[in-house]
């Protein structure tokens, strides 16, 4: 029961990140407005060191510590590494937006780092309680970040909605967890799945708990019919926070579903497969159809997120290793692509101008051919046009679904993707064939130019050579 310090080695990245962000918090207190870049650089440095530690302390055999509440396996390493990388990008994109709006404060970065810590705990959760606590740490940071622009009524409204619905979802999740704990007497995921396997199918108590847990997961991911908060939060929050929610936190959401449904409630696969099928069909339909009617770019991307969540769950519900790895591939690809899409929105914004309307994309090719090209790649990837990586992400997921003989579901998914391609291509048409509404030059910083270009080219490069990432995803799953 009592452990030595060496046993904590797998948790070194988390421990470092917690200490580092406390240091950032204290250092920031002694800086004045003009020295805020120190906070920015320190946060980036902490993320970078965390990333290095995640990779350095990796071992191929899974290690479980803290009395079965923390697991360090290959999936955890890969997802944590991508979370750190993506948040590094988010911070670079956010810097100028925050400066021109007077939001460039240390708390933004500290809360962002806390969110990363929450995601890492979630990714490594091996116990119902640690999953819940990781989720709460992430959600609390997100609520505060959404409300960060205190003078914006829209942001406050979004934060309030997010907070109330998020708290409701947490309550539902806890209810499900408490039923499971009451029946099995254990919080440990392995113990839980052993108990469920012993009990066999048809255990109505476990199915009741499962309903609560699936509802809570759908709430947190934003799957229809639990998606109501998502468009308002994406639209209302400051764009740097939107990109944070839309990219990195989706990876954590994937890990949450994997740990909860696959690792813990795996024996109930037949039950949750049916529930997920309903969520997937509704998400694909509502997400793609409603996105067509949007005139606001952030809102359009929010509905496109809902549709992408449908695809993410599609791979998981197949219930095969191939399906899980396809879903993991999809999640990582989606996070990178959506980082780029919101990066372009941040690039176009200026003082007092959000650039979040679809019309603001008009004639981007005349203003900056290079970034119009980057946005073109990103939109093609979201629509699933080869040779961008989005095509392969959709392809692998569909292949996994067809392999378990769910033909009709694959047909539905393809049909709605074709409908969805319309609004992505409309954005491309606006950039290349419409006249710009304003011709002012883009205010880009060199850091942003480099990272955004890398981001866009990564989407293309991964599409030309997708095998490496897919192999990584397949290798990191043990189920």
């Amino acid at each position: 029961m009592y452990s030595t310090a060496l046993e904590y080695l797998p948790a070194i990245p988390e421990l470092f990140l917690l200490s580092a962000l406390c240091c950032v918090l204290v250092v920031d207190l002694f800086l004045n407005e003009r020295q805020r870049d120190v906070t920015f650089l320190l946060s980036q440095l902490s993320l970078l060191v965390t990333l290095v530690l995640v990779v350095v302390f990796h071992s191929d055999s899974p290690r479980v510590i803290f009395a079965n509440s923390f697991v360090a396996d290959t999936m955890a390493t890969v997802l944590k590494a991508f979370i750190c990388l993506i948040v590094l990008g988010v911070f670079v994109y956010s810097r100028r937006y925050l400066i021109v709006r007077g939001l460039y404060r240390g708390e933004f970065f500290v809360l962002g780092l806390f969110g990363v810590l929450g995601m890492m705990i979630l990714v490594s959760g091996h116990n119902l309680l640690s999953l819940y606590l990781g989720l709460e740490l992430l959600s609390l940071s997100l609520y505060a970040m959404v409300a960060f622009d205190r003078d914006s009524a829209r942001a406050s409204e979004a934060a309030m909605k997010y907070f109330v619905l998020g708290a409701l979802a947490s309550g539902i999740l806890l209810y499900g967890i408490s039923i499971l704990y009451g029946m099995s007497g254990t919080l440990d995921l392995i113990g839980l799945s052993e108990y469920l396997r012993r009990e066999g199918t048809g255990n109505i108590g476990a199915v009741l708990a499962l309903v609560f847990i699936v509802v809570a997961l759908a709430f947190k991911l934003g799957a229809v019919p639990f998606h109501m908060w998502l468009p308002d939060v994406y639209h209302g929050s400051p764009t740097p926070v939107t990109v944070y929610i839309a990219s990195a936190s989706k990876i954590a959401g994937f890990a949450f579903v994997m740990r909860m449904l696959v690792e813990g409630l795996g024996p109930l696969h037949n039950d949750w497969q049916d529930m997920l099928i309903i969520l997937v069909v509704l998400s694909l339909a509502i997400g793609n159809l409603v996105a067509i009617a949007q005139t606001n770019l952030k809102r359009m991307l929010a509905y496109s997120t809902i549709a992408h969540i449908g695809f993410l769950l599609l791979g998981i519900l197949a219930g095969t290793r191939q399906g899980y790895s396809a879903s993991m591939f999809y999640t990582i690809v989606y996070a990178i692509t959506s980082l780029g899409a919101f990066g372009v929105v941040l690039l176009l914004s200026r003082v007092g101008f959000e650039a979040d309307r679809l019309d603001d994309l008009k004639g981007l090719n005349d203003r900056s051919p290079w970034f119009a090209f980057i946005m073109l790649i990103i939109m093609f990837s979201m629509a699933g046009v080869p040779p961008t990586v989005g095509f392969f992400a959709k392809f692998y997921v569909l292949r996994a679904v067809i392999d378990v003989d769910l033909w009709w579901l694959a047909v539905v998914a393809v049909a709605f993707s074709v409908i969805g391609a319309f609004y992505y291509l409309r954005a491309v048409k606006m950039m290349y064939f419409d006249n710009p509404l304003d011709r002012s030059a883009l205010e880009e910083t060199s850091g942003m130019r480099i990272i955004l270009s890398t981001n866009g080219l990564a989407v293309l490069a991964l599409g030309i050579y997708p095998t490496a990432l897919l192999t990584l995803c397949t290798r990191s799953l043990m189920w």
């Binding site: 029961m1 803290f66 509440s69 708390e107 116990n127 640690s130 940071s141 108590g205």
Partner: protein
């Protein structure tokens, strides 16, 4: 005989708890509602006492009743809540709400009445030894088995503090405030000016 006393106490406290919880949402006066909520917490604490969770029962009374609910009471007393508009639309939504409530109750009854949740599914836990310290056992568990969760909870509280400060603290240039350091350093010649005046007749 002793078992019977426990049973009687259990029924008594549960009846009071359910009654008080119902009153919380049915009384018209918000202050009364808060007071009924206090009663609910109190009886729940008594129920926990019957479960041999003495420490948690005391914490419930101290923290929830003593701190949270008193704070809540202050807020309710300060806000002048008009009761009438709160009830608006009650009749209008009653049929829909009642239908949903009945469906939920029936579904829950079906599930909870199934054999999974029968009392005989779980053996009654053995009563703790006479000298066992509830607090000590909780402490040992908290700092060994649940150490990781305990630390995450600490991080969550830190986020809550940072978020609250970041969202509410702002510099107001027109605010007047005192600087005690400057106040104690003040010297006579800074404040007091002695003027020689011609005596008036």
């Amino acid at each position: 005989m002793i078992l019977d006393i426990y049973l009687v106490l259990f029924w008594l406290f549960s009846a009071v708890a359910v009654f008080a919880a119902l009153r919380v949402i049915t009384v018209r006066n918000p202050v009364h509602a808060v007071l009924f909520l206090v009663l609910t917490f109190f009886t729940c604490a008594a129920l926990w006492m019957l479960l041999e969770a003495e420490f948690l029962a005391i914490v419930l009374v101290l923290v929830y009743v003593g701190a949270v609910m008193v704070l809540f009471l202050f807020v309710v007393m300060m806000l002048d809540i008009n009761v009438a508009p709160v009830r608006e639309g009650f009749i209008q939504y009653l049929p829909l709400a009642a239908t949903v409530a009945v469906i939920v109750v029936v579904e829950m009854a079906l599930v909870v009445g199934s054999k999974t949740f029968r009392p005989n599914q779980m053996a009654a836990p053995a009563p703790a030894a006479a000298g066992a310290s509830n607090t000590e056992e909780l402490g040992v568990l908290l700092y060994t088995k649940y150490l990781y969760h305990f630390e995450i909870a600490a991080a969550i509280l830190l986020v809550a503090i940072i978020a609250a400060i970041a969202l509410t603290m702002r510099k107001r240039p027109q605010t007047k405030y005192q600087n005690p350091a400057q106040q104690v350093q003040v010297r006579k010649q800074d404040r007091l000016k002695i003027i020689k005046m011609e005596p008036e007749k």
